[in-house]
């Protein structure tokens, strides 16, 4: 059985990250975009935890927990903005969120 090394983690994290970026770039539904951003954040978390294990240092894990909290806050704020926006325009299509262009 091949031992699971840091590189394995990094590959998985890179795959997750790529999935997240593709989701952000291609989906039109803002909720899905937000979910894709969660994917990106969790890819980063995975990296941090992997390096923390590699170096035997807990700082990385600590940082990962911060990011989890941050992600929760970000989701709350993002969904709040989204609800307010939906009340005004009755849509959550990201293409129509273009009022701040000038």
């Amino acid at each position: 059985m091949v031992p699971i090394t840091t590189l394995h983690y990094l590959v998985v994290a890179a795959a997750l990250f790529a999935l997240g970026v593709i989701g952000v770039l291609t989906r039109r539904n803002v909720v899905i975009v937000l979910m894709a951003i969660e994917l990106i954040l969790n890819a980063v978390n995975l990296n941090l935890v992997a390096f923390s294990r590699m170096w035997g240092n807990l700082h990385g894990q600590l940082f990962a927990i911060f990011i989890v909290v941050d992600a929760a806050a970000e989701a709350a704020v993002g969904l709040g903005i989204l609800i307010a926006f939906f009340r005004n325009k009755e849509t959550i299509n990201i293409d129509e969120i273009d009022l701040l262009k000038w």
Partner: protein, 707 residues
């Protein structure tokens, strides 16, 4: 006992008036008579007993009796104060209080007495008129107001009565309210009186402000205290203002115009108000304020001059009037002028005496003329009368007595009072007063002339009546003739109360009044000026010879007037010619049209005269100034506004297009145009931004990895 309930005297007629007001419409004429005439009879009897009791109490000292019922205005405990002219405080207190002294006693007696007779007379005269209860209600209300006026112990309560008689005068003149002329005359009386009232209230308040009390006793005491110099300017102003009030109420120049027109009222009203009682209110008020007036010699002179001029002026109009009541009206104005002449020369007692005698003979003449009009079925024009001597003998005899009295024939009442006035004017220290005497003397002659003219045209000359009127001529009922007889007796006897010293009499009337016009006052005297206060007891300085001569002259004047009237009118038949009209037509026109005073007032004050649509006189000036204000002043204001607006519009345009446009928006527009290419990069699709970002990151990554 009576004295303590003096306040009841005005309340009797007030009760009658209230009864008429609330229940009059439903009452029978008999009940109306019982209530209204009864109230005045009771008031008269009460007044008689009161005066008797008062004279006993006063014992000839003439000390005033004051009965304060309650505090009418003010706090009563001194918490309300007037700030006097010198800055000190005086309590503001107006009593519902009554004052009886010799002066008000005399007024009380003749107002209630003559008023009673006129009430009785009215029951006959008004018997066939509508509004019977209304008439008597007004008469009673008038009695109430007049009694309040003369019994008041302060200026404010006097003013209540003063306004009250004005109101009743208005109501009674306008009694025939369906006649336009009557309602106009009523308005005229009210408005002209109001001008005088303004003067009165100002004068009274000036006195209060200066002397610190409303009460006559306090004011007279303060004026006599010696703290004020003769000719004190404030007192002079107050006296003149009071005299303006007297001019209005007592029909003096230039406010006399209402009185002749007041003849529109029923004849008993003319007798009651416009002869005997109300018009003497001005004389009463001036006599009441005598202590103030003697401190204001200039005001006294004004009073004397106005009085003398009014006397001769009104008499001259009376010479040619054809309406029997109008002649008497002008005669009243003229006699009131005499009274003011007397007051003005300081002969207060003589003036009051003339009021007293005049009340009787003028009431008699008016009631007599009413009886004549009654007999003639309403005809008032003397040109359509004549030869009534034997048809209405009682009226004729009593009116003859009245005429003799007013003309000043010895020994009728008018002789004593008028002669006293002329004598006092003559003996005034300054010789300039001889001119006033001359005016008064001329007036006496004119008086005799116009009164005998009235007598000849009405009673002696050949009949000029229409057949219809001639058919109906009848003597008046007893209720009318009995008052005439009583008044005739008074017109003979009233003068004897003041039989002069020079004819062996004792002048009791003046003795009685003396305390009211007491001269023992201490008075500040400026250096070099006479210390004499108005007219004192100066008879002693002149010999009786002068007085006899003056008496003889007066009698001669009366005789000459009589003779002239007799010669001119004895045979005045249909279409007779007035001697004045024959001798001097312009003068006749002038007198007949009453010196065109009413027309003059129309030109100057009322604005009834117009040129086209433009009013003349004061009203015209008002309208002109209103037009000037609206068109010129407001026009200028509006033009200034228009100019401001035009400038503002220009300035707005400048601000909007030049300042904002070029200065502020210009750079902004420039920036916007320049920024246009940069805007193209911002197309607003977030995912495109993210894609560019990712592409950029990948670009950097490849660059670093494969460099």
């Amino acid at each position: 006992m009576f004295l303590n309930h003096i306040y009841l005297i005005p309340l009797f007629p007030a009760f009658g008036a209230a009864m008429m007001f609330f229940f009059g419409r439903r009452l029978q004429k008999k009940t109306v008579n019982a209530v209204c005439v009864g109230a005045v009879v009771v008031a008269f009897l009460f007044a008689c007993f009161t005066v008797v009791e008062y004279t006993h109490l006063a014992h000839g000292t003439g000390k005033p009796f004051q009965k304060i019922v309650y505090t009418w205005l003010g706090s009563g405990d001194g918490n309300l104060n007037i700030v006097k002219k010198d800055g000190t405080l005086a309590p503001f207190n107006v009593d519902a209080g009554f004052l009886l002294d010799p002066l008000s006693s005399i007024w009380l007696l003749f107002v209630t007495g003559v008023g009673m007779l006129i009430h009785i007379y009215s029951t006959g005269y008004m018997a066939h008129e509508g509004g019977y209860y209304r008439f008597f209600g007004y008469l009673n209300l008038f009695m109430f107001a007049m009694l309040t006026l003369i019994l008041a112990n302060n200026y404010m309560l006097l003013f209540v009565g003063w306004e009250g008689v004005g109101l009743c005068s208005y109501l009674l003149i306008g009694f025939y309210f369906h006649r336009n002329s009557a309602s106009t005359a009523a308005n005229k009386a009210f408005i002209v009186n109001r001008i005088g009232d303004a003067g009165f209230i100002l004068g009274a308040l000036t006195l209060v402000w200066y002397l610190g009390s409303f009460r006559f006793i306090d004011i007279n005491a303060a004026a006599r205290s010696g703290h004020f110099a003769i000719g004190d300017p404030v007192l002079t102003a107050a006296a003149l203002l009071l005299f303006v009030g007297a001019c209005g109420k007592s029909a003096q120049l230039p406010l006399y115009v209402w009185l002749p027109d007041a003849m529109e009222g029923p004849t008993p009203v003319s007798a009651l108000i416009h002869a005997a009682t109300m018009v003497t209110a001005g004389v009463y008020m001036v006599a009441r304020s005598n202590a103030v007036f003697v401190l204001a010699p200039n005001a006294m002179k004004t009073v004397a001059i106005v009085g003398a001029l009014t006397a001769v002026f009104a008499a001259s109009i009376g010479l040619v009037q054809n309406d029997i009541k109008r002649v008497l009206a002008y005669s009243t104005v003229s006699q009131l002028g005499y009274m003011f002449l007397a007051l003005g020369v300081g002969a207060f007692a003589a003036g009051v005496f003339h009021v007293f005698t005049h009340a009787f003979f003028k009431a008699l003449l008016f009631l007599g003329s009413g009886s004549v009009i009654h007999a003639m079925s309403g005809e008032q024009d003397m040109r359509n009368m004549g030869d009534l001597q034997r048809r209405i003998p009682t009226t004729y005899k009593t009116m003859l007595i009245g005429t003799l009295a007013i003309a000043g024939i010895f020994p009728f009442a008018g002789f004593f009072s008028k002669d006293e006035i002329l004598w006092q004017t003559w003996t005034k220290e300054s010789d300039a007063y001889r001119i006033l005497w001359l005016i008064g003397y001329g007036t006496a002659l004119m008086t005799a002339f116009y009164m005998f003219r009235l007598m000849y045209l009405t009673f002696y000359s050949p009949s000029r009546m229409s057949h219809e009127a001639e058919h109906h001529v009848h003597e008046s009922p007893k209720s009318m003739t009995v008052p005439l007889v009583i008044l005739a007796i008074c017109s003979i006897g009233a003068g004897w109360l003041s039989w002069p010293h020079s004819l062996g009499g004792s002048a009791r009337f003046e003795k009685f009044l003396e305390p009211v016009f007491a001269r023992e006052a201490v008075v500040l005297v400026e250096e070099g000026k006479s210390a004499q206060l108005a007219a004192g007891e100066k008879e002693a300085e002149h010999t009786d010879k002068t007085e006899y001569a003056l008496m003889f002259l007066s009698l001669a004047a009366a005789g000459v007037g009589w003779g002239m009237a007799r010669r001119s009118y004895k045979n005045a038949g249909q279409g007779y010619v007035e001697p004045i009209a024959a001798a001097a037509p312009p003068l006749y026109r002038l007198l007949y049209n009453k010196w065109f005073v009413d027309e003059g007032y129309d030109y100057v004050f009322t604005g009834r005269r117009k040129i086209g649509d433009v009013r003349l006189g004061v009203m015209g000036a008002g309208e002109a100034s209103s037009w000037f204000d609206a068109k010129i002043i407001d026009g200028a204001v509006n033009d200034a506004g228009w100019l401001t607006r035009a400038v503002a519009t220009l300035s707005t345009w400048w601000d909007k297009w030049i300042i904002d446009g070029i200065g502020v928006n210009g750079p902004a527009i420039l920036a916007r145009m320049l920024s246009y290419p940069a805007r193209l990069f911002e197309w607003g699709l977030m995912q495109w931004y993210a894609l560019v970002m990712v592409a950029g990151l990948l670009g950097f990554a490849f660059y670093y990895v494969y460099h």
